[in-house]
Amino acid sequence: MPEFFHRKIERNAIGFVVAIVAVASIGGLVEIAPLFTIHQTVEEAPDMRVYTPLELAGRNIYIREGCYACHSQMIRTLRDEVERYGPYSLAVESKYDHPMLWGSKRTGPDLARIGDKYSDAWHVRHLINPRDVVPESVMPKYGWLARNELRIEDLGAHLVAQQDVGVPYTQEMVDNATRDAYGQATPDTDAASGVSERYGAATQVRAFDGDPARVTEMDALVAYLQILGRLTEAPYKQSAAAEAGE
């Protein structure tokens, strides 16, 4: 019987193809299938919010410039990492990240908890010329971010695509995407108030690049960097509870 079976496979290219696909994909399925039920194991974080349109635009700039090639956003459960970067990363923190930006290489430091660690002005100077603030740095200069006007008129379409992949943006958020992006970087305008109404009172509304007159790519990227690790308090509470328990 095996004799007959193998002859058949070997003589018939289609059978061979089926065999390869079966062998290869069962491995994948066994390993991947549980991940489709994994939301049952992901921690609860009721305070977790979605990215504002400006932060999302900043995230897209982070993606566009390939920052993931040198910076991770995943603090491992190792003592030295927790002491260097902060509480280890939880799965829930990247549940709205399409795609995730955990990274695989630290030519520069981890950025999972970079939010609120430095001032906006420091980030702006650092991005324009990293060696102005960190003389030994090997990071490229990103001067064009401060020069380029941010493209905000199509952010509504971005939010719709985000809805399609499962991020809970409301219709109101979609309708006001462009206005909110503008408002978050221009605190003194009428558009500014809507941002905290829709995304929570703690949302940072300010001229991130230091210039309230323009909304630049720098505004967006700094807004994104300043929210990293700040979308939920869950990891901080968890590590505080662990310390209290010891």
Binding site: L35, K95, M100, W144
Partner: protein
């Protein structure tokens, strides 16, 4: 150009023109709809590419049709062009690699241009060498091996061109997109949705071409090299489709959002990433090895059975190993343990393959000594064994806690990419080029020798630099001083990397110089062949006679 077009029947020339017309219309639509978005520029590239090729086809449109006697020969024109493209991509991809390596030592080489920053150039390097160099090498050699081992000609003349040229269009769209900032930021799967869809179309044609040729085969048994090529084609298709599922912002936007998020996306990405190593950078190149190594050595493979066992072992085990990229992360621990276990088991089929290759050479060591081409293949097998061992070792969780995020990973990847993938490719190309252009040998065997030593020296310098820097980095990050606090700041560890980054750039430069020498050698061999054909104008396309065995066994 006319030379290649004249190999197509008139119907095939018409089909080619229709396809190119459709492509240029798609390009036009992209350019029109995507104004103000990188999509527009990508559309122009597609349009220029297809219109240019359209002119090339037109220039040979009225050439006489090939006669029936072509059916009694193999169809090697796409392989020839594929070899040249392989060498061109090798030089481009490796040159960008040296450039990005230099950027880490001297960061101000970007002259304030967005396209010249590390983050945008790095995928040009990785895609350039993996997909441009590696992919073209796989396509070119697979057409050759498939026909020889099946003893059948490719079923038609159009499809192989569609696969080869379509694939290169994908590479060009991808690489130019990175420079404009078009990327999904998924490592080794950076191209955006429209390029991904195009690759699926090309890949289906490739797969069907393989099946159609196999169906015409005159050998009852499918030679094992084809198993490896088939696994490469099939599994890469599955991986590519699943990992690239995404929703574009609109049809006029280059940007898309991946379907998966967070931990699920991470697992899918590294399931893809690791199996791209398995089925793109291992399986396909093992197929190359199982054909060109015995052929060049003039000896049959040591154990055919072992090659079958390792084939199924690799196909089966690799699928589970991806999660070793995510040790100590938010991924559930059982998946991490599974990945580690299977990574260690993978050592068995990997070493079986490497051992099989080396045992084949046992008894032919004098040939390895005299013939740099065979030596390329031998060293490739050794590096394959070394880097698979290193890979299994690094997948062990405690080891990974040190090595992950450091240059050690980069060193490991390059031990595999330079030492294994590039060496087996260069070895195979040096064997293949004289056969394809019907020459006794390469233009210069001295230059093959020069290339070999440049490549070997470059690989060793590179890998040792990265081992050192990676381990130092990993240790510095976790060193505590007597007070119980971290001893080094991140910047301290970066400063310590500087000399190694310079050494790495130098190693890469050596390897690149080797590739340039190789490209020159291939080019001169082709020129000599054309010069002879023009001088003799014998017209008859004489197949290699039986007496050519001596040439194949090493000059």
């Amino acid at each position: 150009m006319v030379r290649f077009v004249s190999g197509l029947t008139v119907t095939e020339r018409q089909v080619a023109l229709v396809v190119l017309l459709a492509l240029s219309l798609i390009g036009l639509a992209m350019a029109a709809a995507g104004r103000g978005d990188p999509m527009g520029a990508q559309g122009f590239i597609v349009m220029i590419f297809s219109v240019g090729l359209g002119f090339a086809v037109m220039s040979g449109y009225y050439a006489p049709e090939p006669d029936e006697s072509r059916l009694s020969r193999y169809y090697d024109d796409p392989t020839k062009v594929g070899i040249v493209l392989t060498m061109i991509w090798a030089v481009i991809g490796m040159a960008v690699g040296v450039w990005v390596a230099a950027l880490l030592a001297w960061p101000d080489l970007t002259f304030d241009a967005a396209w010249a920053s590390f983050g945008r150039l790095r995928p040009v390097h990785t895609s350039g060498v993996i997909f441009g160099f590696g992919g073209n090498a796989l396509i070119a050699t697979s057409f050759h091996v498939l026909q020889r081992t099946s003893r059948a000609r490719l079923p038609d003349q159009f499809t192989p061109w569609f696969v080869l040229i379509g694939y290169n269009l994908f590479c060009i769209v991808a690489a130019s997109g990175y420079l404009m900032g078009v990327t999904q930021s998924k490592e080794y799967a950076e191209p955006e949705w429209y390029a991904d869809i195009w690759l699926v179309i090309v890949w289906v044609a490739y797969f069907l071409l393989y099946l159609r040729t196999l169906a015409r085969r005159k050998e009852p048994h499918i030679y094992v090299a084809n198993w490896y090529y088939m696994a490469f084609i099939l599994v890469v298709a599955v991986l590519h489709i699943v990992n690239n599922l995404a929703v574009p912002v609109s049809f006029a936007h280059a940007k898309s959002y991946s379907l998966f998020s967070g931990v699920q996306d991470a697992m899918t990405e590294w399931w893809y990433g690791h199996n791209a190593v398995a089925f793109f950078l291992t399986s396909g190149f093992l197929g190359m090895m199982y054909y060109y190594l015995p052929k060049r050595a003039g000896r049959p493979i040591f154990s055919y059975r072992l090659s079958i066992i390792s084939f199924w072992g690799i196909t089966f085990l690799y699928m589970w190993a991806g999660s070793h990229h995510l040790h100590y992360t938010a991924l559930p621990q059982w998946v991490q343990t599974l990945g580690m276990t299977f990574s260690i088991m993978l050592l068995v089929p990997s070493w079986a393959s490497a051992g099989n290759a080396l045992a084949t050479l046992n008894g032919a060591w004098h040939k390895v000594r005299d013939d740099a081409t065979l030596r390329f293949m031998m060293v490739a097998a050794v590096f394959y064994g070394l880097s698979t061992f290193e890979g299994s070792f690094m997948a062990i969780r405690p080891v990974n806690s040190l090595s992950h995020y450091t240059d050690w990973t980069v060193g490991h990847v390059h031990a595999g990419a330079l030492g294994w993938v590039a060496m087996i490719t260069f070895g195979s190309i040096y064997a293949l080029v004289p056969w394809m252009w019907k020459r006794q040998a390469m233009y210069s065997s001295r230059l093959v020798e020069v290339h070999f030593w440049l490549a070997l020296a470059g690989t060793i310098v590179y890998v040792f630099a990265m081992w050192n820097s990676g381990i130092i980095q990993g240790l510095m990050w976790r060193t505590y001083n007597d007070g119980g606090t971290l001893a080094y700041s991140f910047i301290d560890s970066m400063v310590a990397m500087h000399p190694y980054y310079i050494a790495r750039a130098f190693g890469g430069l050596l390897f690149l110089s080797g590739a340039v020498v190789g490209t020159y050698n291939v080019w001169m061999t082709i020129r000599a062949a054309h010069a002879e054909a023009a001088a003799g104008e014998t017209g008859a396309d004489v197949p290699i006679a039986a007496g050519s065995g001596a040439m194949q066994a090493g000059e």
